[in-house]
Structures are given as structure tokens and as C-alpha cells.
Symmetry: C2
Subunit: 344 residues, 2 copies
């Protein structure tokens, strides 16, 4: 630790100019001659003076910081999203800091308060959907952009995949392959609109094609981790059941759950797609590996992060009168984990 | 946006007490009776007053924020590290914000200055090794903890895997399997001590076992991404060469590069481990999937993040007189991508 840093007044005194001249010189603002500016910049560089940005942000009201609050950065979908948003806003002079809510609305609320207290400029939020969150989302003192989630009462700007459509096209793909007994490994439907809407799209497809929905083919409220997918497969395949009574295909709420599911199947000689077809959601990089080749529905994370950065920038610089809502069309990527239904 | 928030003076005035009484009540500090404290807390809750933490951090000198600066959050090794550190420091009341340097020391420097200017309490840094970085690491006005990197002149606290040892045991494993022509896909040796030390460990093993080091078996300065591993395999296998002149095994600088390498091999009928053995470094979750089963050297990321959080906490609360240096022993995890050398 070095000694206490200089204040702008001390620097101004040493130079024999006013504090505002120092400030103008350092911020490249008009009202200072080139030679004085040069002299000041050389001097502050020499003594290592740096303006106290906290004091500046206090006096200006807002900083150049944007908070990105999401569930779990270990999910590659969110790592890609965070990286894309950071990179895009970095070029515009904004610093994006990332927070993991761990899908807990209390943590989410704490981070939101933190961002307000530290004069963040805005918040990009993959909210934990909950009644509580819906309450506080309405009255925040800071621009908020919802990403990958939709809530009942929030009517501000948002960017979201059409997850109903995603669930629908995934189910339709399996139905077109002749599958009739289709299960669903659902994410946390209560706390994630992405999961609940995919589930609704799945149910709609069953309806449209006059197939029965079997609650006992479905597992609910799975967190989004690989290991949970492994355990789900374990609970499905360790229950003794006639093969004809078992689903021949599954929709799985995200790629991480699907990778865990495939891992269990691989270890236990259950062949994908020969014994079970699976289709999931996200299209993370690992899903396209030759050794995996997971059929999945892409959410176009690059588009999503670009749109999120653009829209946040707009909110910060020139907010539109009506909140903008961007809906991204999902795309089915057919790989090797789905095939035509075969009589067992 | 709502109206301007209350200041503590306004709140104190409304309550008919002094600002310091409000502050003491809200910070649970002594000097306020229980009944007054209760009254104050109820009132501030009712009017929605929140203390301006920026002003507080200014007056106290430091905040409860810790900056974590790393290369690329999309690498699961760093996502795990970041998540573990955040979770551990969160329980101690510190907020950890993550920044991606993209392995660019200019960005790293910019983030460090940002952390200083915003009164961060400390920095956990996976530095881009460079002469420039080594210069500024010596004189920062903020506690710094180096993680997973070691530099020439920095002699402050750090936590690092013994990467020389990691390179050595990986190479020894291949040598013990009878491989004599061993290549290395090296990371960015100039900007990463992890990569350069693994490479030195590899060379040491070759020396100890009297095997030749062939520069033309090695590729250098690969960034750490999956796609780069794919391209490396492409450049190796598309060069016409007698099989006997080709390495029979490769060390690969991290798991992501190895996954990309395996992807290329899978797509082009090159069998691992029958045609080529590979061993890499990190042990990310995807490496243990049944479909992958990558032999790799674990850096024990959970231990590393726990140690990093503990050591940072110590630096912030009760700094040891001598900088603490924690060296983590790496562990070879043998899976299915390595086997005994077979005459082609």
C-alpha cells in the first residue's frame, strides 16, 4: 500500500491552476490551451495522479458500469452471453461486471440493490422469475433490461427467445420421427419462464398431434446442471418398467442436463439414439463436438448478446419512448441424438 | 426512474435525530437504544431509504468489492474458478465482479485502474504475463493476489499449480506407455506462465528419459480455444508425412484445445487412442463425460478457488507480514485417450 492518493485540489495547487482546469485537461474538454493541457498531463502522469472516479460518479449521478446478473456463469450458454455483452459494451466505454444469482431471488435482489447503491448505469438481468422479483422489477431507480426471461407484470424492455416455439419445434421433430411416448426433463418452471414456456410448447405440440401427455414421463424442477441430468437418467432407467411403457424420446430443458443424461446412458449401455432419442435447448459449443452430436434448439446466443448490448446502450444514451421487446426465433439443429422410432 | 433518493441528512431531519444516529442504527453499531434503533429501521424501510454506499466507501476509503480479472470466462476452468471464488467471498460479505482481459495486457491494465479508481478492496488476478504487467504489478495501491500465474519480478501473494510438475507427469505418462515421438500443442508461452512451465516440464521429462525434443512436432502460441485445437489438428494431419515420422502422442496445453483436437480427429477417422494418444491439462467437467474420457492433469480448481478466497480475505482483514505463496500439486487423471504405443 502506498500513501494516500492526491486529491484534484492538491494537484491543482502544485500546478498553480484551478481544479477545473486540471479536470478539463484530463477529460480533453475545451477551455484549456494545448500547451497547458500537455503540461498538466505530463505532470499528473509523473506523480501518478488518477482522478477519483467514485467521486466523479457521485457528482455526475451515474458511472460507466453495467451490471449483468445471471444464474450461473458455469453454464456455457451464460458464459457466452456474458462474454459477448462485455465485449460489445467495452468498445463503447462501459465496464460490465457479472454476478451469479445462483437462481436465488434473494441474491438477485441483493445484487440489484448493490448496483443501485454503487451508481451503476444499468442492469442486464436474467431474472429468477418469482412473484417477489416481479414486484421489485417494476420500481427500480435504474434502467433494466430483461434477457432470456419474461415475467407476468414486467413491461419494460426485454430480449427473449420464443421459448414456446422452441419447445414446440423440438417436440414436433420427435413426433415427425414417429415417437408417441415423449417425456420431458423440465427445468425450474416456477423460476424460469424459459423452462415453463418450452414445456408449454411441448404440450401444445402433443395436443396438435393428438398425443397423450403423461405426467409420469416427465421430471420437474431440475436445476440446470450436468450432474442433475445424470441423476435424472439414473432415476428413469433404474425404475423397473416395461420398455413399451417407457418414453422412446425425451425433450431435455437445456444442453447441460442433456450432456449429463447422455453420460449416464453411455456408462450404462443405453444407446442414443437407438434406444432413446433426445433433443434439448441452447446449442452450446460442446453439443456440436463429433463425440456428442446433440440435436438441440439454438437460442442464437451471439445474436442475443449483441442485441442486449445494443439495447442497453440505447437505454443509457437515448431511451426509446416505448420499451423495446426483441423476440429471437429459435432454430432446430438436427444432429445424431434423434432418429425414427423403432418398435422395441 | 423515480425522484432523487433521500440523503441521510434528510432522513435524520424527518426523524428528529442526528445523521450519525441514523447511521449507527442502520449499521447495528453501539450508541443507540434498542427502541430508537427499531423506530429508525422501521421508518427507513417505510420510506425506502438506502444509504449511499458510494459515499460511504469514499469516506471509509475502501468498499466491499473484489475484482477478479481473468482471460476468458468462456473457458470452463475459469468459469469454475470465478464461481467458486464468488460463492466463498459472498458468504463473507464481499461482492466479486469478474472482468475478461481476453489475454490482452492493455485491457488488464485498464481493469486494474478501474478497480483502483472505484475503491475496490482487492484484486484477484490471472495476469497476462508480460514485461509490462510485471512492471505495474509491483506498485499497485490495492491488495493483489495472483492466481494460476507466476511472474519474474512479482513477489506478492499467489496461488498457482505446480505447472512444471504438471507438464512433467503428463509427459512421463506417455513415455511410460512407450511413446518416443511426442509432440506438444503449446498455449501462449509468452503470456502464460502456466503454458511455458508445462512446456518446460515436458522438456525435462524428455531429457530425463533421453528422448529427443523435435521442434517440428510442436505447435506454439495457440490461444486456448476449442476451435484453435481443431485447426491445430487440421494443420498436423493435412501435412503429408510418413506415419513413422509423425508423433504418436501429444501433450495439449489445455482441455479446450484437446476437445477441439479430438473433434477434428473424430470427424476425419483418426482414432484416439489407437492412432494418437493425447493428454492435456485442467480436467474441466466435459473431459470426464463417457463420450470424451480425456486423460488430463487436474489443477484442482475447487481447491484453487477456495484457497484464493481464503487468502484474499486474509489480505483484506489481517494481512500476513510475509506474502503467502500457495503451490497446488497437480494430479494425473488417466482416462481413455492414452494407450501403449503400437508400431504403425
Amino acid at each position: 500500500m502506498s500513501e494516500k492518493p492526491y486529491t484534484i485540489s492538491q494537484v491543482a495547487k502544485m500546478l498553480g491552476v484551478s481544479p477545473s482546469t486540471v479536470s478539463r485537461a484530463m477529460n480533453n474538454a475545451p477551455g484549456v490551451s494545448d500547451s497547458v493541457r500537455k503540461q498538466i498531463l505530463e505532470f499528473v502522469d509523473e506523480i501518478g495522479y488518477r482522478p477519483n472516479t467514485v467521486a466523479q460518479s457521485l457528482s455526475r449521478g451515474r458511472s460507466n458500469m453495467v451490471a449483468l446478473i445471471l444464474g450461473d456463469i458455469r453454464n456455457p450458454f451464460y458464459a457466452d452471453l456474458a462474454f459477448g455483452i462485455q465485449k460489445a459494451l467495452d468498445t463503447k466505454g462501459f465496464i460490465v461486471t457479472t454476478f451469479n444469482s445462483e437462481y436465488d431471488y434473494k441474491k438477485e435482489k441483493q445484487f440489484i440493490q448493490f448496483a443501485e447503491q454503487y451508481n451503476y448505469s444499468g442492469i442486464i438481468l436474467v431474472t429468477v422469475n418469482s412473484e417477489e422479483a416481479d414486484k421489485y422489477l417494476g420500481h427500480l431507480d435504474i434502467p433494466v433490461l430483461l434477457v432470456n426471461r419474461i415475467t407476468k407484470h414486467y413491461n419494460g424492455p426485454l430480449i427473449v427467445t420464443d421459448n414456446f416455439q422452441a419447445g414446440y419445434i423440438a417436440a414436433r421433430h420427435l413426433i415427425n420421427l414417429g415417437h408417441k411416448r415423449i417425456g420431458f426433463l423440465a427445468g425450474q418452471n416456477k423460476s424460469s419462464s424459459a423452462s415453463s414456456q418450452r414445456f408449454q410448447g411441448f404440450q401444445q405440440a402433443l395436443n396438435n398431434y393428438q398425443l397423450d401427455y403423461h405426467a409420469d414421463y416427465c421430471l420437474y424442477d431440475l436445476d440446470w446442471r450436468m450432474n442433475t441430468g445424470y441423476q435424472a437418467a439414473e432415476s428413469i432407467f433404474s425404475t423397473p418398467r416395461e420398455t413399451k411403457q417407457r418414453p422412446s424420446a425425451f425433450l431435455i430443458a437445456n444442453d447441460l442436463l442433456a450432456l449429463g443424461f447422455m453420460n449416464y446412458c453411455g456408462e450404462h449401455g443405453i444407446r442414443i439414439p437407438d434406444d432413446i432419442s433426445i433433443v434439448s435447448f441452447d446449442d452450446i459449443a460442446y453439443s456440436s463436438l463429433h463425440q456428442i452430436q446433440l440435436t438441440t434448439v439454438s437460442q442464437h446466443v451471439e445474436t442475443m448478446s449483441k442485441e442486449a448490448a445494443d439495447l442497453m446502450l440505447q437505454l443509457l444514451t437515448d431511451p426509446p419512448k416505448e420499451p423495446k421487446r426483441v423476440i429471437i426465433e429459435p432454430t432446430l439443429i438436427v444432429r445424431n441424438t434423434t432418429q425414427h422410432y423403432q418398435e422395441p
